[in-house]
Symmetry: C2
Subunit: 428 residues, 2 copies
């Protein structure tokens, strides 16, 4: 019987809509990955009575309570006070926490005001979760059968605190070791992937197999529980083989950050460089590539040829072709990629040209019609995409076009037809 979890987030800013509750999302993924069953999220403002009532409600309907926010000096350590009351605990001064807070300020070269030391008051008997990413320490304790973990609110502190500090403490709740592996899938929508795998997903218990839709992609997470890491990995391996056999070239990586990372790693291993030539994606391909730290070892640069005169003048696309066929056609995509290879002096180049919307172009090409091309030393390939959908949005169309362009590089690296495969977008 797996443990049930409530995530309680404290912060008036969340209720005003100033920020989105990304902590709840990130922690939900982590906790689900541990095999725990997240049943509730709740958010209350910076109000001691409501925080206390929410904690009491949570303990009545879940056996693990994870809180985020309301720590730290600016909110008077609201969450700690309220939870200490709800669970009948006293707050006591932890000198070693005070010392850590002093060290943190010394390390970042800022002066510490005295109110920061208030953060060193934590529930008696708790396990302290030291904060290396900010000042407010978290804590964890068990009280009458409820496991409580308190984390700071800023996402840049909350997630590392969970992974590095809370997770080892929570491991007690899952007997044995939990391991997971995430397969990344591009080129089919979630519902298509699900319909291929539904039966197996329902059958499997250990490991479990679960899909997560991301815009234009699907992640498949295989999670196994076993006495040791080796045994867990041994449970995962045959399911991974099975999924790969079913989905074939749709699987582009395992435990990777995304298509850009896979393309960059593959090119780096082969000592090859990359460039871009973008029209409808308007710099988005280059942006996605340079989101990856260390992209400079592979990515030389790109040309955003939004106007036709830049396509002709900088990339050398034929003016006659542009006049005759307009910018949205396979030939222009091809000449853009080939031009980028030459102008930028790179081994491979990808290009995009199409109609991002919201309106059709002046030649009547529909929103979502996009051509992506890949120019490589051994040839040039063009893919025609129809990215229109029920909820056609400019950002979605552009994002999908970027994915397709990057996937062409990935497929070339794997020796597959870069323009192969059905070019359907993800489903809605």
């Amino acid at each position: 019987m797996s443990h049930t979890v409530e995530i309680l987030s404290v912060g008036t800013e969340l209720l005003l809509g100033g920020i989105v509750n990304s902590d709840a999302q990130a922690l939900s993924r982590e906790l689900s990955g541990l095999g725990l069953n997240v049943l509730y999220h709740s958010v209350v403002g910076d109000n001691p009575e409501r925080v206390k009532a929410a904690a009491e409600l949570a303990r009545s309907r879940a056996d693990v309570l994870v809180t985020t926010g309301g720590l730290g000096p600016t909110c008077d350590d609201l969450t700690k006070q309220a939870l200490a009351e709800a669970f009948g605990k006293k707050l006591v001064f932890h000198p070693e926490c005070a010392q850590n807070i002093r060290c943190f300020f010394a390390r970042v070269g800022r002066e510490m005001t005295e109110n920061n030391l208030q953060q060193a008051w934590l529930p008696e008997g708790c396990h302290v979760l030291d904060n290396a990413w900010g000042t407010a320490p978290g804590c964890a304790f068990e009280a009458e059968g409820t496991y409580v973990v308190m984390l700071p609110g800023p996402p840049s502190e909350c997630l590392p605190m969970f992974r590095e500090r809370a997770l080892p403490w929570l491991a007690r709740l899952s007997e044995g070791v939990i391991r997971s592996r995430t397969l990344r899938v591009f080129g089919a929508g979630e519902s298509a992937v699900e319909s291929l795998l539904r039966e197996r997903m329902n059958e499997l218990e250990n490991p479990t197999l679960a899909p997560y839709a991301k815009e234009g992609e699907v992640e498949l997470r295989i999670t196994a529980k076993a006495p040791t890491a080796e045994e867990a990995d041994a449970l995962i391996a045959p399911v991974e083989r099975e999924v790969r056999a079913l989905l074939g070239e749709l699987v582009y990586g395992a435990d990777v950050s995304g298509l850009a990372q896979v393309a960059l790693d593959g090119l780096r291993n082969r000592g090859l460089t990359l460039g871009t030539a973008e029209s409808c994606t308007g710099g988005f391909i280059a942006k996605r590539i340079t989101d990856v730290p260390g992209a400079a070892s592979v990515f030389k640069g790109g040309v955003v040829s939004y106007h036709c005169e830049v396509k002709a003048g900088v990339l050398g696309v034929s003016q006659a072709l542009l006049d005759e066929k307009s910018a949205v056609c396979a030939e222009v995509a091809r000449e853009m990629a080939q031009g980028a290879r030459k102008v930028l002096g790179c081994d491979l180049a990808v290009s995009s040209t199409g109609v991002a919307g919201p309106d059709p172009d002046d030649r009547g090409n529909p929103v979502g019609l996009v051509y992506t091309a890949l120019a490589a030393p051994d040839g040039c390939w063009v893919k025609k995409l129809n990215l229109a959908s029920l909820s056609a949005r400019r950002d979605r169309t552009r994002n999908l076009a970027v994915n397709h362009a990057l996937d062409m590089v990935r497929r070339w690296l794997e020796g597959l037809d870069p323009a192969g495969m059905d070019a359907a977008g993800a489903d809605d």
Copy 2:
């Protein structure tokens, strides 16, 4: 006494962490803007008992309940069933809804399966919220003093449904008319803006003045309530003047979508074109510009000169300069912008060069050191930025650099010194 609100989101996907609860954020802003007091967010999975229990809890602690998700055929209209039970209502068939659903499918050219018609069953006596952005209609009703609004989950449907359909119905809860105006502020952190305005924010009751931090920006929303729109606007105007007088050139617009929009609109009005030359932002400036529909009337294109040979070869930056000073210096930023003007044939060009991190560059330049430049017909300006912060993140550094580059265009358009002003980033 203002009404209190709970937002209840239904969806197992939220509890698994597959998606973030952006509906709750968007609705919180809208509801707060109406003068309603959002006290709770809660999330439960696709489970009829838990949805019903959550609805009963919500009615006990708030007088307005807004639900998102759990409508539509794939989830068996879970939320409608559970709420109908919780509020003792029957579901009845609404033929006009069935007709709308049929029309929607005809309009988008897809075949309708019969299970879609199940969506036409809604609580008896409810006010139907017709869905022009998807298939599942929403509804609104009052039951024993609780006002209930049910909206679909997909963000592309939820927010327009709220604004276009639910808002007129909810208007009864706020006596008179509520109007708001949002001033956009760039160049100072939230805490600096707050400390300038704190006293006034606390004093003001109608209109209210509230800050919202966005990454690298601050929004200030002035909200007034009055019997008529004219009277509300008349209450807003003097507060807007007061804020503008206090913050001066930090205010870059009112009721606009962002810096890119302001820069593009200003250039379009003057008949001028824009180009980009990017190193550390790697296409992100061009991406932000082309996020704006209609950017093509102003934006000609850009060069992403990630490698120095592209800076020299395509943009014409002096090789001797690159050899001597490396790519991260004011002179290179200047030559990049000037080169882009020439190569792209545009009136204005902005550039960026710097260290996005996570590591310092090979000349020892620290993470967060960025130069942005603006080349215009009447001169060229360079801004040196130190975007380092406690939580230095590559995406944050790059995003701030983009904002600074776009703000140089905005300042030039307003006749201000484009490189003027303290180049401090937003605070953490």
